[in-house]
Symmetry: C2
Subunit: 291 residues, 2 copies
DNA sequence: CTCAATTACGCGCTGCGTAAGGATA
DNA sequence: TATCCTTACGCAGCGCGTAATTGAG
């Protein structure tokens, strides 16, 4: 159960290939083969079936453990190193695309005005990676946005001890093509849209919607990117409906028609994530963002 | 951040000595010294101050991570091995001393009557170790007992993914020496006993009591064992008060006087812990115990 | 027959033990 | 001075790469 071997194992499983894993990890095929053999010998059972390369039941079980385990290991390392690092004025903030809404941007501006020396490096990333980025110390702060029932916390992947605080909640609107029969309504109930075609995007994942509202929500088009403008364009062209926070839709609707959601009440919730921070600029910014 | 080095580090920190850790781990003093040096070089900072040997701030931080991390590693290993093991009729059950109360004992008897081939090996252990025993696969089932507010879950040390289920809750009694001025009352409020002398025992840790009720509860005598008879004898001799589930005090009170607690309402709660179990005797027993 | 994983084998590096050295109470 | 950790050094075993071999599609 050497983490080194565990890393190799998850890489092989991800690629479904020893040679591809070898290329990624900078080893020879042979070394990978020996590492997997060593892990299997250690546990006394087969973890991968060969040709095609795919995990056995025991291997699948190990994969479920390995990811979080390796993440915690990196997180522990980052946390220990953080205790020794002196407080920096450069703060790296990772955010999901919709997390930087007007409220967050305003608070960030206020914090920068209050602390002129503060330097912020903002980057966007997918929600699944956000907690890991913060845990591993590759970002001091994380802003995670997602769809939730009002006051309910987001479902973030477990990644060790981390503080979370609610930052903002914003009502959602249904984004429709202008010619849509329901466009122009003052409010819409999601239950009435359960059979309409939907866009499946990371900004509004249909799996999450089904969790919150119920089955249905057939996929019209799947968009793997997280660009709001693209989503709006796709919606305008009638590829499907989607939910966005009101502030993400241009005033007046632009090319699309935006209708508030009447029921069930859902919000785009933003949460602030951070590991234990040293006193200094980082805590100040965290406090400013949490409001 | 090799787990091997981490293990060495926690052992050295626990003993406050390189040589003692060497003896425990079966290495030479020199090897331990090299391992600690390797870990410190890897992280680029000092983890231990020598002479006396004690952790630096960074070392303390690492210690907080290392324990849970190593536990999860062992737990993952146990879990993977469990998927391959065939269901056994021998079930190892670990329980805190008071967890095996009449309710639990009766359910266990019913389960054994229903499944004649069932073989149960019961052992007692302290609450802190219980979750680790189950996580590491050294026991299939764990029965954790502790003091809690009604319907509130116990505070168990975090030890990876594990199922918990409430099993029973039993009212608590205050155990007093027969000559105590408050003996003979029909009910007592804990707030009135906050200045009395208390026994500090693992069966009723005063820290937990202070968490639930408030500061106070001065220590009369600290007993590190978990033998109920000894606690009753100490209470009878006037060394201090303690709380026990009613069923743990002999009918009539025996050498002590038992008075129900009126407020706040507290119970001795028993929870069942287990990792993902293979279908078979283990799941059947778990279901029987959970009621 | 081909491609990909396994096995054989040799070498270099890591990490241990022995033993000498150094720091601290 | 005694104790306990550190450093020097040599050896053994582990793990990698090269290259030959096996085996599945």
């Amino acid at each position: 159960m050497d983490p080194h071997l565990l890393t190799t194992f998850v890489t092989v499983a991800r690629h479904g290939s020893f040679s591809a894993a070898a290329a990624e990890l900078g080893y020879t095929q042979s070394a990978i083969s020996q590492q997997i053999a060593a892990l299997e010998a250690d546990l006394g059972l087969a973890l991968l079936r060969r040709r095609p390369v795919e995990p056995t039941p025991a291997g699948r079980r190990l994969l479920e453990h390995a990811g979080p385990l390796l993440l915690r290991l990196r997180a522990a390392r980052a946390d220990v190193l953080r205790t020794a690092a002196e407080p920096s004025h450069l703060l790296r903030v990772a955010a999901t695309p919709l997390a930087v809404n007007p409220v967050v941007a305003a608070r960030l501006a206020a914090a920068r005005a209050a602390q002129p020396r503060l330097e912020v490096r903002l980057r966007t990333c997918r929600a699944e990676r956000l907690a890991a980025l913060v845990a591993e110390g590759r970002a001091e702060l994380g802003l995670a946005g997602g769809i939730a029932a009002p006051s309910d916390p987001l479902r973030l992947p477990e990644s060790g001890p981390m503080s979370t605080a609610g930052v903002s909640e914003e009502d959602l609107v249904v984004v429709l093509e202008p010619g849509h029969p329901l466009a122009g309504r003052a409010r819409l109930r999601l239950a009435d849209l359960i059979d309409a075609r939907w866009l499946d995007t990371p900004l509004c994942p249909l799996t999450r919607l089904r969790d919150l509202v119920g089955d249905g929500f057939p996929v019209g088009l799947e968009y793997e990117g997280d660009d709001v403008h693209t989503v709006l364009t796709l919606a305008a062209a009638g590829h499907g409906l989607t939910l966005l926070p009101a502030s993400a839709v241009p005033a007046g609707g632009g090319p699309v028609c935006a209708v508030p959601v009447a029921a069930p009440r859902l919000v785009h919730r933003v949460e602030l994530l951070h590991a234990a921070l040293p006193p200094g600029p980082a805590t100040a910014l965290a406090a400013a963002l949490a409001g």
